[in-house]
C-alpha cells in the first residue's frame, strides 16, 4: 500500500513536469499541420489550427521568454496568412495581439512590426505603417550588426 502511494506520487510529479513538454510538442504539431494545410491551399483551415494554438492555456512551467517566442511566432504566422487572404484588419488584430505580449529586441517582435506595417499599409494608414517599418528596421539592423560581428543575437 505504501509502495503504491509512493509510485502514485512519483507518477503525478512526472505528469506535472510533462505539461510544459506537451505544450511545446502541441505547438510544433500545430505548425506542422498548418504547413500541410498551406501547401494544400487551405489557408483558413491553417489559421484555425494556429488560432487554437494561441488560445490554448500555457502551462506555468514554461519560461516567460519561451512562451512569448512561441506565441509571437504563431501570431506573426496568423497575420501573414490573413494578409495573403486580403484581410488586413484581421492581420492587424493578430499583430497587435502578438506585440501585446511584450516587445523585446528579437526576430519575433521585428516580424510582427513588419506585418503590422504591411496591414496598416493595406488599410491606407501610411503614417502608422511607416512607424512600424521603422521600428522593425531598427531591431533587424541591430540584430544583423550583432550577427555579422559574431555576437549571439536571438
Amino acid at each position: 500500500m505504501k509502495a503504491a502511494c509512493v509510485w502514485l506520487v512519483a507518477g503525478a510529479l512526472a505528469g506535472c513536469g510533462g505539461r510544459a513538454a506537451r505544450w511545446v510538442e502541441e505547438a510544433a504539431d500545430a505548425h506542422a499541420q498548418a504547413d500541410l494545410l498551406v501547401r494544400r491551399g487551405e489557408r483558413q483551415q491553417a489559421s484555425r489550427v494556429l488560432e487554437e494554438l494561441v488560445s490554448r492555456p500555457v502551462p506555468a512551467q514554461v519560461a516567460a521568454q519561451d512562451r512569448r517566442a512561441v506565441l509571437q511566432d504563431a501570431y506573426a504566422r496568423l497575420a501573414g496568412l490573413a494578409l495573403e487572404e486580403r484581410r488586413p484588419s484581421q492581420a492587424l488584430r493578430y499583430a497587435d495581439a502578438g506585440l501585446g505580449l511584450g516587445e523585446t529586441r528579437d526576430v519575433f517582435a521585428s516580424s510582427l512590426r513588419t506585418l503590422r506595417g504591411r496591414a496598416h499599409e493595406a488599410l491606407g494608414q501610411d503614417a502608422e505603417a511607416a512607424r512600424d517599418y521603422e521600428a522593425a528596421q531598427i531591431v533587424a539592423e541591430a540584430l544583423l550588426q550583432e550577427a555579422l560581428s559574431g555576437g549571439g543575437a536571438r
Binding site: K2, V9, D35, V107, D126
Partner: protein
C-alpha cells in the same frame, strides 16, 4: 401463543446451558457436547469471523513468515515515510515553478537580411523570402525548446 413466546422446555434450557459452558470453557475434558454440536459449530464460526482481522503485529509476523527475504525498504519506518513525503512535496513545488528560459538559437544572417528587406513600404514581394527564413528558424526554435523541455522528439 407462538412457539417463540412459549417458555423454553427443560431440554432446551439444558442445551442452552451446555452450549454456554462449552463456549466459556472449551478445553474441559469429558463433556458430551453431541447434543449441541451444530449450534456450537455455528457459534465458533461466528466468533472466528469476528476475530479474523489481523493486528499490525500479527500482519507483520504473517508477512515475515510468508516472505522472509523481503527487502527492508519495502517496510519503511514512519520517519522514512515522512522524509519521502517531504521530498515529494518539494519536488512537486519545484516542478510547478517556471523553468529557466531555453537557449534559443540566434537568428541567422539571411533571416535578418530578409527582415530588413521586408520592413519597408511597397515591398510586397519581400514577404515570401521572410516567411521562408522564418519557417527554417522555427524548426531550430522548436528543436531548442524540445531539448530544454524534454519532449519526446
Amino acid at each position: 401463543m407462538t412457539s417463540e413466546e412459549r417458555p423454553p422446555t427443560e431440554a432446551e434450557a439444558r442445551e442452552a446451558d451446555l452450549l454456554a459452558h462449552a463456549l466459556e470453557d472449551p478445553a474441559r475434558p469429558g463433556r458430551d457436547v453431541a447434543a449441541v454440536d451444530d449450534a456450537l459449530g455455528t457459534a465458533w464460526l461466528l466468533r472466528a469471523s469476528k476475530s479474523a482481522e489481523l493486528s499490525e503485529l500479527r500482519a507483520r509476523a504473517v508477512l515475515k513468515r510468508a516472505w522472509p527475504g523481503r527487502p527492508r525498504w519495502l517496510n519503511p519506518t514512519p520517519a522514512a515515510m515522512a522524509a519521502l513525503g517531504a521530498a515529494a512535496a518539494v519536488a512537486a513545488i519545484l516542478s510547478l515553478l517556471p523553468r529557466g528560459p531555453a537557449k534559443l538559437p540566434p537568428p541567422p544572417v539571411p533571416l535578418l537580411r530578409a527582415q530588413v528587406a521586408a520592413a519597408r513600404p511597397g515591398a510586397q514581394r519581400a514577404l515570401a523570402p521572410l516567411e521562408a527564413e522564418m519557417d527554417a528558424h522555427r524548426e531550430r526554435l522548436y528543436g531548442a525548446l524540445a531539448r530544454a523541455y524534454g519532449t519526446r522528439r
